[in-house]
Symmetry: C2
Subunit: 207 residues, 2 copies
């Protein structure tokens, strides 16, 4: 979905399974097999129509209607996420922001007024929210998660650099903003020619 | 690396290739083969020592020394990234923040003083920076990237929801904060039993 969206933004109308496979880092046969489950087979010599494939994947991902989200934590990260164009545009409107700090309550970020974290159950129920975003400092994240779960949220996106303990039925995805930097540092390391040979294992030429 | 770090944080001392494979969504034979290139073979019945494997992967990724980064954009996202514990802790200290808005210059975020974007070349050269982070609004992102490249940065982490055009030699990674929400919405969709059958392709039981 990410790749298709990027290709669409770049003006690509149709794409081959080989190209999709290359961009996704998997093999083309797997791409064709996976997409066949969506009822999408592409056209020999032309590939898949990007816009229609996006529609099919969106339908499968449950993106044919909006999923309102609530953000816990109105610090810089919470404010940045509330104002992040990508959320609303992708079908995840931020319909609530809460914070534990009374001094932050009442401020308005990206059109949403910060409310006290004690109001979380009421916000989750009145706005039919399934997904909560934890944007607190690390030490407050577990409490934020506990409160989201108590309020009735069933999926959590965690930006805090800690592992959250939640009941088994709750889905948690952790966003680690440093992972992409680690990938860049790998390229920089190679660019500098500074790769240290592994001990005990000669590197095959195709590694 | 992300998985190993999480396992380490959860107190796991050693891990089997099967468990690593399960967490990474690949097969165990591939894990063993890939790790053999690092000179890491694990111990039958015990697995890999997490801390030593982290060391080996860090060495390979070029994470044995710090990679200082500069952030372009001192808005909410730039401030949040400057204060994000994960960057410094993972070896990516934020050593500079610049903004085009004179009103923001001079403010201090997470110990770093905002400087004007015109000072970028000087900052990049004096602090030996290879990696720049674009944390501007979408419409300012291409200019930010152009200035980073002119200043001598060779890798860019882009948080703006646009595709950046850069010379071929420059690495760009785009962070799409909405992707994880799309994954959660898929789980929510399944939870609700709301998956719409694909047209034209009966779903195999093992899909």
């Amino acid at each position: 979905m990410r790749i298709l969206t990027e290709q669409g933004e770049e003006g690509v109308d149709s794409i081959s399974s080989e190209r999709l496979a290359e961009l996704a880092g998997v093999n083309a046969a797997k791409v064709r097999k996976d997409l066949s489950y969506l009822g999408s087979y592409g056209t020999r010599g032309v590939g898949y129509e990007v816009a229609y494939l996006v529609y099919q994947v969106r339908r499968e991902l449950g993106l044919t209607h909006d999923w309102p989200v609530v953000i816990v934590g109105a610090g810089n990260l919470g404010q940045a996420l509330a104002g992040y164009d990508g959320f609303g545009a992708r079908g995840f409107p931020v319909v609530g922001i809460v914070d534990i700090d009374p001094a932050k309550v009442g401020s308005v970020f990206a059109g949403t007024r910060v409310r006290h974290i004690d109001e979380l159950p009421q916000i989750v129920q009145s706005k039919h929210i399934n997904i909560g975003v934890v944007a607190t400092p690390a030490m407050a994240a577990q409490d934020a998660a506990d409160r989201l779960v108590s309020a009735g949220v069933t999926s959590i996106l965690n930006f805090a650099p800690v592992v959250l303990l939640v009941p088994r039925a709750i889905e948690v995805r952790k966003v680690d903003l440093a992972v992409e930097l680690q990938i860049l540092s790998y390229y920089e390391q190679r660019r500098a020619g500074g790769a240290i040979p592994a001990v005990g294992a000669p590197r095959p030429a195709n590694a």
